[in-house]
């Protein structure tokens, strides 16, 4: 479970507000989509949730562990995929996955099993992992990052634009994996620009604009009574109103 309580964060001495008193809960067993225009504060909020950035005020609690007080315990529960898969590309796929597995203390036999599973899900031949990621395509890097992130079987998935670069089959499989993970009683929070993905996958969505959470709830509730239920129109209208 992810609990964000009154999160605020600004940059440039308050000139740019990235998160303005944001509160939400992502319960166990649900997939929550985080939607917003560019620069709305999605990535900043996600970075606060994962302990990369500290909020000016407010708190983050992951499965009962306060990120400010018990950061290591909280981080162990999270699997985080950054928005850019360009980390440590001089390592081979195996070296990177092993690195992450070591950091999270995954036993050798367990990681081997999980790598096999994920490689199959993403249609990757394991031999690829023996080569440096500099030679990988963007999509292959993204898949490798996802595998490395999920190799320790985190209870809470926090994914920043996870579908970018994935081929249709891999994207489909990742969405299925997200559903399965949530159905096991775990939590998935992911950001996306693609409204159709949010519509298909999420139990709930949160819309952020200019650092403010302008909607949180189910897709059905959002659509009710709104211009024939077209999510794109609703989204554009809401963000335009907020900016006005």
């Amino acid at each position: 479970m992810i609990e964000a309580v009154n999160l605020s964060k600004s940059f440039n001495s308050g000139a740019a507000v990235a998160a303005d008193n944001i509160s939400f809960t992502c319960a166990d067993g649900e997939i929550v989509g985080f939607i917003g225009p560019n620069g709305a504060g999605k990535t900043t909020t996600i970075k606060i949730l994962t302990g990369i950035i500290r909020p000016d005020s407010g708190k983050v609690v992951i499965n009962g562990f306060n990120m400010a007080e018990k950061p290591l315990e909280a981080k162990k529960i999270i699997g985080y995929i950054a928005d850019s898969p360009d980390m440590f590309v001089k390592l081979t796929g195996y070296e990177y996955i092993n690195f992450m597995a070591d950091v999270y203390g995954v036993p050798g036999d367990v990681r081997e099993e999980r790598i096999n599973y994920f490689a199959e899900q993403f249609g990757m031949e394991k031999t690829v992992f023996s080569q440096r990621m500099t030679g990988y395509s963007h999509g292959m890097r993204q898949k490798t990052m996802i595998i490395a992130t999920l190799v320790h079987d985190p209870k809470v998935w926090i994914l920043d634009e996870p579908m970018v670069g994935l081929d249709p089959q891999s994207a489909f499989n990742l969405k299925r994996m997200m559903r399965e993970h949530a159905d096991k009683g775990n939590t998935v929070l992911f950001s996306t620009h693609v409204l159709e993905i949010a519509e298909k996958v999420c139990d709930r969505i949160m819309i952020i604009d200019a650092g403010k959470l302008i909607y949180k709830g189910t897709m059905e509730a959002l659509k009710t009574g709104e211009e024939g239920g077209d999510l794109e129109k609703i989204f554009l209208k809401m963000t335009a109103e907020e900016q006005a």
Binding site: I53, K75, M87, F88, L91, D102, G108, T127, T134, G135
Partner: protein, 546 residues
């Protein structure tokens, strides 16, 4: 060719290579303080010493009828550095910077692109060495009279000094890339450029070996110093230095015009080379290699502790990233090359008996300890393993924060990775030396402790400085190191600390006391720096990006 566009593009490139400003006023204050410190206590003294050296040599040789030699020699040395810098940086700028892939689709002519990049590098290079050029001109002008016009023009010519060697390197680089079609991988090109730099340094070292210190004095006295092979080679390879020196010494307008003409010609040739060769060669380079499906699968079952896996990752990144391999790792192993050269120049008997006998004298032994301390500290600062420890992470910096590993452990791992390379480049040689020179056990042990403590001091200092404002926005690894003022601050503070310590050591006649005192001071400083790192340093890291 659109000059306005070149100017704008140059400004953009320079801006993209520069560091971000520190986020808070407090950090900005620290950075200003370090800048003033480095300027006052390092740049200024070095400049003054360069000026004094040029002044003395010019005064001596003016009497022998060769007033230009001092300037020519200093400019020759600067030109050597320009060549090495050019190979290291211009290759990178023209072929390896990742922004190339964004610039190539733009409607820019090849010569506009190349000249912009060249100008950005040229200005950057000049910013580093202009103080030295001023010092050389001042040293010369105070020893040999010049009128006001010649003073001004001498400074202008000094500013233009690196232009020809750097343009030639850029042209050669483009020709190399065009006519060596087998080179398609960036890594291979980087290795070639590294080997070329080693060859140049090796050739320089070999030529220095031919110098006889006794004869140099004679050469200076009878004015035939140009007979030294090293000086002759400098004259041949960098004839433009002679033109500048000739103008400064004799006011030769012809030399002035020829030099300016050569500068213009080199830029025109560079533009032509870019026009004909650049696009073809740069578009052929390809970082992405096809993934071989037949490669054998590695095992994923090797497990390590978090600390060890971070350490292994750190080592792999250092060794596998060519810019880090050459500038951070290989840099530790360069200095031993100069030991036999100096021994040869000084006509020292390197037999063990002679060496041991020489170092029975307390002053000589203390001098050796001072050299050991200086080498250790300068090497540790030069390799910038500490001072770019966090800058090296670049876009991947966030992982430090989201992985469930304590900041303290991560800090210690980075310290260990830096120390391994610094000590590998120094400690074995010093161990060999203290045994070879038959130091008594106490002095030997204290010497080695002093060296280790000095390495730690510089590493921790560098990390502390880098934690204040790491340079995280770079596209190519070399840019993490270039124009990173944390490395400059670290070098400056190291040189100042080293000078203080060495000065203090020289006061003691008993070597064991010198080494012991230095080791003790350094250990105390290490403890203070470590505590600072564990508290302020980690606090800084947590605040990065906030």
């Amino acid at each position: 060719m659109r000059l306005g566009l070149i100017k704008r593009l140059t400004a953009v490139i320079m801006r993209s290579n520069s560091m971000e400003e520190a986020a808070s006023k407090k950090r900005k204050g620290w950075i200003i303080g370090f800048t003033v410190f480095v300027l006052l206590f390092v740049v200024f003294p070095v400049t003054v010493m360069t000026g004094i050296f040029t002044h003395i040599v010019t005064a001596q040789l003016a009497a022998a009828g060769h007033p230009e030699f001092g300037v020519k020699f200093m400019y020759g040395i600067i030109s050597v550095f320009s060549v090495v810098f050019g190979i290291n940086v211009i290759f990178n700028e023209l072929y390896f910077e990742d922004d190339i892939s964004y610039l190539l689709p733009l409607p820019l002519k090849a010569e506009e692109l190349v000249l912009s990049r060249f100008l950005a590098v040229f200005i950057g290079e000049n910013m580093m060495q202009f103080a030295v050029v001023i010092a050389v001109v001042t040293g010369f002008g105070t020893a040999y009279p010049m009128n006001v016009v010649r003073w001004i023009l001498s400074i202008v010519l000094g500013f233009l000094l690196p232009m020809i060697p750097m343009a030639v390197i850029a042209i050669l680089g483009m020709l190399l890339m065009t006519f060596t079609r087998f080179i398609k991988k960036k890594e291979t090109v980087r290795r070639i450029s590294f080997v070329i730099i080693l060859l140049i340094l090796g050739a320089g070292a070999a030529m220095l070996l031919t110098i006889d210190i006794g004869d140099v004095v004679g050469y200076i006295i009878d004015g035939t110093v140009r007979n030294i092979l090293f000086v002759r080679v400098l004259d041949v390879v960098f004839p433009q230095t002679g033109l500048i020196a000739d103008y400064m010494a004799r006011g030769s307008v012809l030399s002035l015009l020829v030099f300016i003409g050569l500068c213009i010609l080199s830029v025109i040739l560079l533009a032509l080379a870019a026009h004909f060769f650049y696009i073809e060669s740069v578009t052929r380079l390809n970082e992405t290699t096809h993934v071989q499906k037949s490669a054998s699968a590695a095992s994923a079952s090797v497990t390590r502790t978090a600390g060890m896996t971070l350490f292994v990752k750190e080592m792999r990144m250092l060794v596998r990233t060519p810019a880090f391999l050459t500038n951070c790792v290989a840099a530790n192993f360069v200095w031993p090359v100069f030991v036999p050269i100096f021994a040869r120049i000084m006509k020292a008997d390197m037999g063990q008996g002679a060496v041991a006998a020489y170092f029975t004298d307390g002053r000589h032994k203390t001098a050796a300890l001072i050299v050991i301390l200086a080498i250790t500290m300068v090497t540790a600062a030069m390799n910038c393993l500490g001072s770019d420890a966090f800058s090296r992470e670049g876009k991947g910096f966030d992982y430090i924060k989201f992985i469930p590993v304590s900041y303290r452990l991560q800090w210690n791992v980075k310290t260990a990775a830096a120390m391994v390379w610094t000590l590998a480049g120094t400690l074995p040689f010093f161990l060999f030396f203290v045994i070879y020179a038959r130091f008594d056990v106490l002095t030997a042990v204290l010497t080695l402790v002093m060296s280790c403590a000095a390495s730690f001091f510089v590493t921790e200092l560098g990390m502390l400085l880098d934690s204040l404002n790491p340079k995280l926005f770079w596209l190519d690894a070399l840019s993490a190191l270039r124009e990173n003022y944390n490395t400059v601050f670290c070098m400056g503070i190291t040189i100042a600390s080293c000078a203080l310590l060495c000065g203090g050591m020289y006061l003691f006649a008993v070597p064991a006391v010198s080494a012991g005192a230095a080791a003790l001071i350094l250990c105390v400083a290490d403890a203070v720096l470590y505590l600072l790192g564990m508290n302020a340093g980690i606090r800084n890291i947590k605040q990065v990006g906030e």
